[in-house]
Amino acid sequence: MATVEERPIGFGRLKRKEDPRFIRGQGHYVDDVNLPGMLHGAVLRSPLAHARIVSIDTSAALAHPKVRAVITGKDLEGLNLAWMPTLSYDTQAVLATDKVRFQGQEVAFVVADDRYAARDALELIDVEYDALPAVVDARTAMGADAPVIRDDKEDQTNNHIFDWEAGDRDETDRVFAEADVVVTRDMIYPRCHPAPLETCGSVAHMDAVTGQLTLWTTTQAPHAHRTVYALVAGLPEHKIRIISPDIGGGFGNKVPVYPGYVCSIVGSILTGKPVKWMEDRSENLTSTGFARDYIMHGEIAAKDGKIVGLRVDTIADHGAFNATAQPTKYPAGFFSIFTGSYDLQAAHCKVTGVYTNKAPGGVAYRCSFRVTEAAYLVERMVDALALEMGVDPIELRMRSFIRPEQFPYANKTGWTYDSGNYEAAMRKAMEIAGYDELRREQAEKRAKGELMGIGVSFFTETVGAGPRAHMDILGLGMADGADLRVHPTGKAVLGISVQTQGQGHETTFAQIVAEELGIPPEDIEVVHGDTDRTPYGLGTYGSRSTPVSGAAAAVVARKVRDKARLIAAGMLEASPDDLEWEKGRWYVKGDPEQGKTIQEVAMAAHGAADLPEGVEGALDATTVYNPPNLTFPFGAYICVVDVDPGTAHVKVRRFIAVDDCGVRINPMIVEGQIHGGLAEGVGIALMELIAFDEQGNCLGGSFMDYLIPTAMEVPDWELGSTVTPSPHHPIGAKGVGESPNVGSPPAVVNAVIDALHQSHGVTHIDMPMTPARVWAAMQGRPEPPQ
């Protein structure tokens, strides 16, 4: 028997509504879409990182009996489609015309009868390249002799994209001048990749008669994509339907619009048939949105035993096209949240974005717009400072935390943190970990020459972008819609603009409506991922589903509740003011027997009897939620590692994560999200790396080379929670999906440094901490990751 908690009408550990189809293999992913007469596309990619295209000969490919079309950049130029806008107001080649600018760049697109024939035909295309020197290191990209990568842009005379600053430079200089201790560190957050298990792809079907384009595609933002296609192709937006069916993980990788999607559309237009394009794993790793690639110089200052100042100078490697997905006014995303969880006197950051001959992207990998890089920087710097000061890293954090009574807290770079109780979360993590006992164990092991490390991190995120006055992508305000219809029998359909890639929206969002209306979650169908069936909104990334769309769901349910009140008042012949709500029912104050359930009201709303004056029929509502602020989830993480003195292999023995994401709608789903993010964070810390050689060859182009943790590399996660509601969110919730990926890498690195500092004098190792790289550091020659 299911317990009461497993069958909640509202918040609680409800089993997921998505699961019955997935456990039967009946999920419906893009590659499962098969249409009559469907053709298959494949992309020819550049083997070189930087080269002029001299000629492309497609004749042999076209002669292949199963090939229906071969498309090159020249063909697209004729359609004005050779270039498309990126989400950062840059342009990106759909198919290269003049030059190739990274290894793996799209050069031609073949459409054939089946996927094998399409791949065969790629071999028949003859491209002559004139190789150019490749710019691989962002630190040299701005050099006077560096080749200009983006010579397609008229005003571009170097590889500079942007300079961006936040905080007060002069005030920060003053605080540093007066500090007792200043510590500096150079660190790289290396390029890594979200690598969802399902690669990217699309099935395009252009109906030549009706002009209707239907695109099944792997997108986390169906509505934003539809608008981009309208802008790219000049297609009328009302004739475009984006269907994002089940998505096999996204983690930010499925936010951008990729050339392959556009090519599948062009292929369908040219052939008159549906065209499927699914990239392979190498294509996913070498050409789609990477993450991070930040080279940071950090400085931290302390006075009177507390952290007082922080500054950082960053070079951001954006690859060959500036295709990051960041709100327009935030070219370095929310990196300015690098002040973390501390009550600083001053802070300043500067970020310089540059082009290199590497794949474009700079998407969040389970991260709210560069919050991950920011949290890594501050949490590594705090540990470096603690080391210098000779104080326990938790003690230094405790002394410097923003205190509960300081919320809402205005930090030094323009953010207003909504709520927090940092010390409580930190203490809870210490309690679960048995922190003092761990330190005792470490001392014993050190005496025996064993290398045990305890790493701490405490992060604060800013998630749920965001207020439309400040935040937009391509001019589209970052609000999200919701519409709710309650049918006559009391069953409801909620349409949302965000898109699940595994987060369980069909369950969580039903629970939000259930909590507000008292309709059982099983009676609420959540529709998402289809632009024809859902209201407009910007989609799921940056942990924004619950902060923005979750709020929209609560607000629209309250609108329905308000309408139900008027109808119930009519039915009860009472004034609406005399009614009170209990979950699922309006009743007359002082006479609880006299009431109408939401189901009775729903039937009456559609019934034959008159409704109260001014009340239209049906029981439905729509809303667009424009968040007044972002939400600021936080957490305290403790990682315990053992480093093998003979092999430098790092074993994560324990990982304790105490997260505070405000009110938890479905704690089971929240915990699952944290588990997954922790595994990804440990992977980033220990093994995930997209590296390049000097010619710009990608060295992480398959799962043989881009290593992802399996069940053997991660521990059994130990979770705890505190609940500090967001004061401005309708249900007090904050985002959580990305917190574990934000908070865990610095905890792992801090643990490894903690293990090696005393015995080997190691003060920093850049990620990923592979045995070879840790070994090099132990020998006194730490190496940058690329």
Partner: protein
């Protein structure tokens, strides 16, 4: 060439290209899309099916090599409206999120329990170590398989025909 194999208990014969991978034979030729594809290099295990009751990565098996063998996919796991305990375990313990690795994980979990009815956590982790999940961090997958083992043991004690209770 012609290939004949047993898929989910039914004999199938098809004309195929010799190079056709088993994963594409299952997905594209037979329409059994519950088996997924994720990497090309036999690392991710989204394509795991059972061949003669042993887990294999169907992206690394030619359909021709499966000729004469018995293939079992996720579509066969529910029988007479009754979920396999491993399937049920994944739902009970929240052992899945996006669902993409799930069919492969369930097949491996089934194969493990068929040869070891009471595996330790370490044995479960080792059994699924050829497969990648990006969503769950594995803890709940381990619990899902443990759930199935516990319920199958209880079921065996209670006697055949007893319903597995949720």
């Amino acid at each position: 060439m012609q290939v004949t194999m047993t898929v989910n208990g039914e004999e199938v014969t098809r004309e195929i290209e010799p190079r056709l991978l088993l994963v594409h034979f299952l997905r594209d030729t037979l329409g059994l899309t519950g088996t997924h594809w994720g990497c090309d290099t036999s690392n991710c295990g989204a394509c795991v099916v059972l061949m003669d009751d042993e887990p294999v990565k169907s992206c690394t098996v030619l359909a021709a090599m499966a000729g004469g063998h018995a293939i079992r996919t996720i579509e066969s796991m529910e029988r007479d409206g009754q979920l396999d305990p491993v399937q049920q375990g994944f739902m009970e313990e929240h052992g899945l999120q996006c669902g993409f690795c799930t069919p492969g994980m369930i097949m491996t979990g089934r194969a493990l329990l068929d040869r070891n009815a009471d595996p330790s956590e370490a044995e479960i982790r080792e059994a699924i170590s050829g497969q990648i999940c990006r969503c769950t961090g594995y803890t709940n997958i381990v619990k899902a398989i443990q759930w199935a083992a516990a319920h199958e043991a209880a079921d065996a004690t209670a006697g055949a025909g007893e319903e597995v209770t949720a």
